[in-house]
């Protein structure tokens, strides 16, 4: 399926429409990897020279997840604008992860396994290269897609994830509830949407 979402064009501060879709193909993963990686590496080199932090998970390869494309318990989403993939997300629809927070402990949810936006949408990376970032709100639109997927699956918007430390403020801001760091996941903090907070996120950030 395909939907239209609105991203923020950083240069003009105006919203632009983009395509969100869930029929992600191997070609999409390859395209993302081949266009994102050189920019990310180039930026990382610049950051390294400047003595600024770079993520250790820089070497993530979306192509390694090609095998999950056809699985019934996984779902991929992509956002495309101006012919380029602006963000990718993988959801886990299996029963491995359940709600952890009251009052919905043990209930089924949609687990956000991975979300990444194109490096040219990240000011930190682009500034290192001497450019402004291009689009904002890619991560937000993907998270909202996860909520919609949960609603469509009659899970009432319940979504859970393990946040990277730099993203924790973002999840708090959009209304997710949190628990203590998960020692089984390198101490990443667990966040989840309740039906109410999920609905609020969709309505507030239209």
């Amino acid at each position: 399926m395909r939907w239209t979402v609105r991203l923020k064009r950083e240069e003009s501060d105006l919203e632009e429409e983009a395509d969100l879709y869930d029929d992600v193909t191997v070609q999409d993963l390859v395209a993302a990897q081949s266009t994102w990686r050189p920019v990310l590496l180039e930026s990382a080199r610049a950051l390294k020279r400047a003595g600024k932090p770079i993520p250790r998970y820089l070497h993530w390869d979306w192509r390694a997840k090609e095998g999950a494309l056809g699985r019934l318990d996984a779902k991929f989403y992509a956002i495309r604008a101006q012919g380029n993939i602006q963000g990718l997300m993988k959801l886990d629809l299996g029963t491995l992860h359940r709600c952890r927070l009251e009052p919905q402990v043990g209930k089924e949810l949609v687990y956000v396994d991975y979300v990444e936006t194109a490096p040219w949408n990240i000011a930190y990376y682009m500034h290192a290269l001497g450019f402004r970032s291009i689009y904002g709100r890619v991560g937000l639109r993907l998270l909202q897609a996860a909520v919609q997927c949960s609603l469509d699956g009659e899970l009432k918007g319940r979504v859970g994830l393990h946040s990277l430390s730099d993203a924790e403020g973002f999840y708090r801001k959009v209304g997710m509830s949190e628990s203590a760091p998960d020692v089984d996941k390198q101490n990443l903090r667990w966040f989840e949407f309740t039906p109410e907070s999920a609905q609020s996120c969709l309505e507030k950030y239209r």
């Binding site: 050189p38 991975y114 990376y125």
Partner: protein
């Protein structure tokens, strides 16, 4: 909601999304055995080893996509160029031979020319 409060609401969430630096969750990373920490010392050598695309090509690609330069990268003065060149020389023996001569004694137009050449050789930008 007033226009001001709406703008403030978006500014807050936009800023926090930027703080996430493009990667938002770590579940699959951890399951794949990847360390989700930040390299605060920026000491990874893999970055250099894996680099295959020239800087100029990357910049051309970004420009073609509509990315606008911030103008923050190019050194602002001849002295800043000298310092930047010296830093690159120190870090890269391969190109150090280019300026075996004393940088301070080089005319300004030569400094600028060397700077641009190094930039083109992806040593600076």
């Amino acid at each position: 909601m007033t226009e001001d409060s709406r703008r403030h609401m978006w500014a807050e969430v936009d800023a926090l999304e930027q703080e996430a630096r493009g990667m938002f969750v770590g579940g699959m990373l951890v399951d794949s055995g990847i360390d989700v920490g930040m390299d605060s010392g920026a000491t990874s050598t893999d970055i250099e080893d894996e680099h295959k695309m020239r800087s100029a090509i990357t910049r051309a690609f970004l420009t073609a996509m509509g990315a606008t330069p911030t103008g923050e990268v190019r050194a602002a003065s001849i002295e800043a160029m000298r310092q930047e060149i010296a830093r690159v020389m120190h870090a890269n023996a391969r190109v150090a031979m280019i300026t075996a001569r004393n940088l301070d004694s080089l005319p300004e137009d030569v400094v600028e020319s060397i700077y641009d050449e190094l930039a083109e050789l992806e040593q600076l930008v």
